[in-house]
Symmetry: C2
């Protein structure tokens, strides 16, 4: 007779669990990213997952409005689970304005919620890592954000990536010069290049731009820097004369690159691409996207740029910001695909296996000593058959198994099994076993 | 004229932000705790903040039911923000039962939501650190959880704490022996000892226990181990003969202490107290609470114990667990009160201050070199007056300020100001400045 009172264990569509292997990988990744952010002087802040609807909702695009987790709480308050960390940042800055020194550099790692249509690789709860500079118009901030993106990917051992850089004024200036008024539609058309080819795009552009200018505008907008940055900027400097937008955009790019071009960082990983736009209604200055050269199909793993007037909903003070956001779930999936994630389900290097439960006290004492020597050590809590304990170590990924049988217990020596090679050494002293495990 | 369209920046009652200083302290604390959990072979897992109501709600106590953040999502699903991490763990174990090796050791650090009446020190969103052993009845697991609690507090440099240990069977056995049927009411009365004194408690006990036995039961239930554990357990061994519950409870305590009593850990920090109960409807074996000797009023910072049949709502397989939970917010508040939190708002040790914006490229190059040498370094992004930049460094807590003026820029030397002592050295080479900062 089936027990009908049992509940089927399941998660909501678009939500998910992480098992130890993946959760460990995420934890290590976040620790590395935090260290990078902190090495540049960014400090963490924390805001709640739940906020008043009027705080978060005004800013959201129409698309986001439909995706909100919005409800009345038990006190009848209209509340929303946050859908990003930027609106909460604006609220935070305005609320604590008197306690914060400008420029304010913060990073925030947290989960956000969007009820998008569930599909492969898209989740309704996902993790964002944001880092932003608030309250300085200096292009040095823009230059620093690029360095942080670079250092973040480098610290994860991803060496084949490209940070694509543009300036919203360049895009506006190009469109103005060619008499294009529907910038958004223009960019959507350009985006189809790989799908429908040059000819297809040229045909669609006929509705947006004078047909005599199509090949010229196509040539410019699809231009991606392949030569050294100084040469490249020289080669497009003539466009500064076209209008003020182009002048401003190109000069700010020059200023930005003058700061980073002499750094040790590999310059070829940071290139200009005039078609990069990022959230048209939002960014106002330099913008960037980051693609992995070997996984172009996954899109940008880190995007951002400069935006004006972050706090306009909450205060009359005009503060600009510049920052970027790492899509952690996408990045984790990419690392997995690139074979850059480790496959263990434990951080412990050693498992101690006892052949009799009366040895467990001794085992815990040995484990305590190993931990004090820096070896993360787990004790199997029962005196199961050795095979069962070795299988456990194998599945979790311990590198060594320290076996305590009667001989070992009486003589205080150890049998040490290397779980990778299968090699087993017997009658080792504690210090000798420690030495081998530390190698 | 007031701009009425501005929104007042604010958080929901019972929710809060963390500014950099506090968020940094929390981050460092979590990293230390994670390392401790991992050093014992616990691995992290992650579950969503939002779950189906039928998954989470059945288990909750009546009190928790009223405090739920429960709503219908845009797809009409009945959903709840998690109120603890134990019910999600039960769901998780049942859902992935075939992929998990038992015993399964996991830790989980995450936020939970309870709409309790807002009051000082109580939040509606707060962070829990749970660590549990699932699927083993061995008392070695109980002994290990105590070691993890000990190591967790020790790693935070808290040296004055006590882990109070009891066994639910001992409590039941004592009550049975004295004919007490209302155990919960009995314990609530005992809890009032400090408030209303021995006499007051004795008076209230008259309703629960034969008056001739009151002084004896009071003597036993308020007994706290002050002598060595072996002596103590010997001194109460006579109670084993009273009933099976006491026999089982005392023997399991003996077994547990036989595992930890020879460890290097300070034995005086772990003591038996027969009045500890922890969630009567839930725990079934050994239980523990942890108090800070210098801050007794804040209550237990880490509690837990053994519970049977964790997964009973989801599966017919009976799995027991043993674990504990650290109340992170309470612990952070305690560390603050004990003066054990650092007061800086940045992890960067050095701030580079430029006297002219044309030095910013050079400054970023110097910062890159310092970071590669292990010195976390921030560049002030604008050429503001030196005083303003030094104030910024002072407020954030940089230890050094590296000043780049015209002389320094031209000669590639540095002026280094120690922000603590105020001492300033001039014309330093890069290597000499690095050497000083590394000291």
């Amino acid at each position: 007779m089936a027990d009908t009172s049992l509940i089927v264990p399941r998660t909501l569509s678009g939500f998910r669990d992480r098992l130890p292997k993946e959760a460990m990988a995420k934890e290590k990744l976040l620790q590395k990213l935090s260290s990078v952010f902190e090495s540049f002087g960014f400090a963490p802040i924390e805001t709640p997952h739940l906020e008043y609807a009027d705080i978060l909702v005004k800013h959201g695009s129409d698309e986001i409005q439909k995706e909100l987790y919005r409800f009345k709480d038990h006190g009848g308050r209209d509340v929303v689970l946050r859908f990003d960390q930027t609106v909460p940042l604006a609220r935070f800055i305005s609320q604590y304005r008197n306690e914060l020194d400008l420029p304010f550099k913060r990073f925030a790692i947290g989960n956000v919620f969007r009820g998008e249509r569930a599909q492969r690789g898209r989740y309704r709860e996902f993790t964002q890592c944001d880092f932003d500079f608030i309250g300085s118009d200096s292009i040095a901030c823009d230059a620093e954000i690029i360095q942080v993106i670079y250092a973040s990917l480098a610290t994860l051992n991803i060496d084949e990536f490209t940070i694509w850089v543009n300036h919203r004024s360049i895009l506006n200036g190009i469109c103005k010069h060619f008499g294009i008024t529907e910038i958004e539609r223009f960019l959507r058309t350009i985006d189809k290049l790989e799908k429908i080819g040059q000819e297809g795009v040229a045909k669609e552009l006929e509705e947006l731009v004078d047909s005599s200018k199509i090949s010229e505008v196509l040539g410019i907008i699809t231009m991606r820097q392949t030569i050294a940055i100084d040469e490249f900027l020289d080669s497009v400097a003539y466009m500064k004369a076209w209008n003020d937008e182009l002048k401003k955009g190109l000069e700010e790019l020059e200023e930005m690159f003058s700061i980073i071009k002499d750094l040790e960082m590999d310059q070829s990983r940071c290139r200009v691409d005039f078609s990069i736009a990022r959230g048209l209604g939002y960014y106002t200055g330099i913008v960037y996207e980051t693609t992995l050269n070997r996984l172009k199909n996954i899109g940008s793993v880190c995007s951002g740029g400069r935006y004006d007037n972050l706090t306009k909903s909450f205060s009359k003070e005009s503060l600009s910001g510049v920052g970027a956001s790492i899509g952690l779930d996408r990045l984790l999936a990419a690392l997995e695909e690139l074979g850059l994630l480790q496959g263990r389900s434990t951080s412990a290097r050693a498992l101690i296996a006892c052949m009799d439960s009366s040895y467990l006290g001794f085992a815990h004492k040995v484990a305590e000593s190993l931990r004090r020597s820096g070896i993360y050590t787990e004790v199997y809590p029962e005196a199961q058959k050795l095979k069962k304990q070795l299988t456990y170590a194998n599945n979790k990924g311990h590198e060594y198994c320290l076996i305590i049988g009667e001989n070992e217990f009486l003589s205080h020596t150890f049998t040490l099994k290397n779980m990778t090679t299968g090699m087993q050494l017997e009658s080792l002293s504690f210090l000798r076993a420690l030495e081998i495990m530390k190698e």
